[in-house]
Structure formats: C-alpha cells, structure tokens
Amino acid sequence: MSHMLVVPVVLPALVATFIVTAARFDLVLQRVFSLASTAALLAVALGLWLLAGDGVPRSYRLGDWPAPFGIVLVLDRLSALMLLLTSVLAMLVALYAAASFWDRRGRHFHALFQFQLMGLNGAFLTGDIFNLFVFFEVLLIASYGLVLHGAGARRITEGLKYVAVNLAGSTLFLLAVGLLYAVTGTLNMADLALRVPTVPEADQALLRLSAVLLLVVFAIKGALVPLHFWLPGTYAAASPPVAALFAIMTKVGAYAILRVYILVFGDAAGAAARIALPFVLPAAALTLVVGMTGVLASRSLTALAVWALVGSVGMLLLPLGLLTEAGTAAGLYYLVHSTLTGAALFLLADLVARRRGAAGDGLVAAPGFVEADLLGGLFFLAAIAAVGLPPLSGFIGKLLILQVLAAHPARTVLWATILVTSLAALVGFVRAGSTVFWKREPAAAEPSHGPGDRAALCAAAALVAAPMLLAAFAGPTIATMEATARQLFTPSVYIEAVLGPARLADEGTIQ
C-alpha cells in the first residue's frame, strides 16, 4: 500500500498548522512554506498521475481498517487528473498572491490557502460519501476565510450570503447522506455501487429522493442555474487570487456529479439508474445562457471573468450531463481548459486594475497605463481561449462538445444554444478588450514596477499559456481524457480496488 496517496491531504494540513502556529508573524516564512508546499504538491500530484496512468485504481485504507468499515481514499485516473489540475492552479495562484502582496491585506492567507487545498484534494480522493461531506466542509470553511480575506463591508455582506447558502447546502447534503445510509446501510461509494441495485421496491422512493437531493447539493457547489445566485457576488467581492483559486471550486460540483451518478447511480443501479439525466442537461444549457448573457452585461473585467466562469460550468456540464463515455471525455477536456482560463481572467483583471488607478477594472475609457500592450496581448489570448475561437483549446473543447451532442435528440436546440452564447461571449469580450486597451491615451507614466510585479505577471502569463499547451498537445490530452472516461464507465475496476476481487465476485453471484 503506497502511502503517497495520503500525502495530498496530509501535507497541506501540516503546512497550514505550522504556518498558523510557528510562522504566524513572519510573512516571508509563510510565503516560503506555502510556495514550497504547493510545489511539493505539484510533484506528488504528477507522481500520482503517472501512477494512475496504468489504469488500475488504487485504494488507501486509513488506519488500515478494511473497507467498507473504514474510510478509504481512492486514486483513479479522474481523481489523479483533478489533483494535478488543482496543484498546477494552486502553485500559480499562490505565487501570484505572494508576488502581488494580496496576501498582506489580511492575516492567515497562506494557512487558509493550504487548508483549502487539503479540502479540495481530500474531496477528489475520498471513496466514502460521508467523508466527501467532511472534505466539502473543510474546503468550505477555508473558503469562508479566503472570501473574507482583505475584509471591507462588501466582502462581509457577500461572505455572509455565501456562508448561509453553503450551510443550507450542507444541511441538504446531510439529509441525502442519511437517507442513503438508511436504505443501503453503507456510505462507502464502492459498496454503495453494489448495494443500490438491490434496494427493495419499498425503499426506492427514499433512494431516489436521496439521489435527487445530492444532485441539488452538487448543483449548488457547481453554481448551476437556478442555484447560481451565490456565485457572482461572492467571486466579484473576493480578492482576485482567491477568485482565481475558486475557479476550481465549481468544478468540485462537476466532479462529484460525475463520481456519484456514474459509480453509485450508474447504469446498473436498477430503478434509480441515470436519475440525474433529465435534470443536468437543461440546467447546464440554462447556466450557459445566463453566464454568457452576464458576460454581455458586465461592466468590469472582474464581472466579465465571473460570468464567463458561470457560463463555462454550463458548457462543461452539457456533455458531462449526458452521462456517456464520449461526453465525459469531451467534458473533462473542457473542464481543464475552463479552470485555467477562468483563473487567468481573474488575475489579468487584477493586473489591469492595479495599473489603471481610479478607473480600476471598469469597462470605461481611461488614461493610458504602463504595459497596456503586454496586458492587452495576454487578455486577447485569454479571451480567445474563453470564447472558444481557434486555434486555442476553447475551440477544440467546444468542437468536441458539439460533436458529442450531435447524437442527442435535442441537437438543434443545444447546438443553437452553444453557438449563440459563444457569439454573445465574443461580443462581450471584444467590447471589454477594445474599451480597456484601445480607448486610452498613450502612457504618461514611466514603467515603475518591482520584482514582485514581474513574478505576478509571469504567474498570470503561465495561466494564459495553459490553453496554448492544451491546444498544442490536444491529441495526447484527449487520449488521456478518453482513457479516464473509459475507466469511469467500468465501475467494476473501482469496486475491485476498494473491496477486493472476492467481494465483487460474491455480490455478482447473489444478484
């Protein structure tokens, strides 16, 4: 049993505790440990990703209690992919936060950041649905602190709403988990996958209620319309590095939908099979429309990034909501692309706002600012990726999604939705870019920037480079996503890894 599986959860927890206790008053030390931790997490995530590349899921029994009685962490291709994505994003965002001095505007930024990573990594690794709830809480509690980072009246009022909505969501999660336990007697996801098909007829209503409640919870996390109301205000009020990190938070909802509705309520689940199917697709289409309309109506670069993020969740849940292998592969490619692009937009908005002084990131004509051409170029690239124009990865992702949806009965409506919203996003981004970067007088001020600003710019530029790399290596990336989707739709390998081959064969004969 490789202990490497537990490192992504334990390492940030230890570093965060150390930062809170020992490095409390020393920001430099905090930065060093935070950055070193994210770099180590990246190395570990890369190692785990290579480990998962052989297609065999691995389980790690905490305390060596045998599953399903103890809690397990499970590493398969999907969780390895999410870990890798999280650690890449976390390292660049941590670098940006330190370089742009955002971490100085309040206390404990780096400690909260590490706790957030612990929650994210745990949620991606856990193989137990109550443990998923616990890690959701860990990441939410850290995120409450991060949203409030920097304080100010607006962050407090938005933060209050964010906390209230998520507390209500947690309550629903507990209700769903309780129902699931009542009808199946287990909370281990692999065990659930075996027991859900055998739930007696009398308990089917409770089982389905639990499945739908879980979907509501994941939709709140993923900000699916009509449960997206908490997101725009919160993300716009949060400090930019926090908003950039939160680009992955909505994807946690998407991940949970994939995991639960393919493994537990998958094809074999009897009467509750594919229960998410009628809900996810229409909600995703609506989310896409609402998000891109928001892009069109945005009055600042940050609002633009927020609404583009809302739209991107809708976009990626369109193919994921089909709950098919091809759809999942296309959705995962778009997931990676949209997370990194979304984060890049938040950081670029902040870089522009810092240089423009009073005008901030508003979409108004303003006096020139230093390095407008460089930032304009980066924004141009990020916008191309976010809108989905060739040659960057947004285009490839949308092409894959359109292809997958071609087989769907409601093809015409879905295609029209995607293409029209893309046009809306294009208009929104073009208007924003031309107002901010073209309607200006030549820069009067001399470039005045410290080494910190350079590093911040590099972090944002690295995020902008991601869609280029994803486009350049689209072939191998898509092949990996297809392998991930294939593994996801072969639940028996997951179950075998958690419960052992004997149990799987045993249950097979009972049915």
Binding site: V134, R154, T157, L160, A164, Y181, A236
Partner: protein, 114 residues
C-alpha cells in the same frame, strides 16, 4: 415514538425554512440553527429507532442499535456549531460595517459591483 420523531423533524424543518427566508440576518442564523437541529434528529433516526439498546459490545445485550448514525451526528453537530458561530460573528461584523442587517442586498452600500 415514530410519530413524535417524524413530526419533531418536520416542525423543526418548517420553522428553519421559514426563518431562512426572512430578510434580516438574525432570523437567517436562527433558521439555519433550526435546520441543523432537524437534520441531526433525522440522522439519528436513520439507524432505526430503538430503546434501551447499547451501540457498542456488551455481553448482556440482547440487541444493538446502529452506532454509525451517532458518529455521523456528532460530526454534523461539531461542524454546524462552528459554522453557526462564524455566521454570528459575520452577521455582527456586517451590521457594524454597513449599519444595516439586510441579507437580500436591497439596501446597497456604495461601491457595489453589479
């Protein structure tokens, strides 16, 4: 006992939902507290209702009650208690900073983004 338990959970949920939908922070905090009470009771009943049975090994026991829901409730209580405390602090801070305690954002302060 079943009827008492079920109606207890039901009434608590009703009160909680009603209070959450109020426009001021204090009722919302109370509402969330009531909801978490309801959920805790609900989780407790998930292991089936039993009277006078031990949850852990006892040589004289004739039957056992399921210990897992009790562990789940304990976790849920700890989390919701901590979160309620945070929410109260946030509500107070928000009131002190903005001078009003509306949650729906109708009374907007200056500098709010769309």
């Amino acid at each position: 006992m079943e009827l008492l338990m079920a109606s207890g959970v039901g009434v608590l949920t009703m009160v909680g939902v009603y209070l959450i939908l109020r426009a001021r922070t204090f009722p919302v905090v109370l509402g969330l507290t009531f909801l978490s009470y309801a959920v805790n009771l609900f989780l407790f009943a998930m292991g089936r209702l039993a009277v006078g049975r031990p949850p852990i090994l006892d040589p004289e026991a004739t039957g056992y009650t399921d210990p897992l829901p009790q562990a789940l409730v304990l976790t849920a209580i700890v989390i919701s208690f901590g979160m309620t405390a945070l929410l109260v602090v946030l509500a107070l801070r928000g009131y002190l900073e903005t001078g009003q305690d509306h949650v729906d954002g109708r009374v907007r302060s200056e500098g709010d983004a769309p």
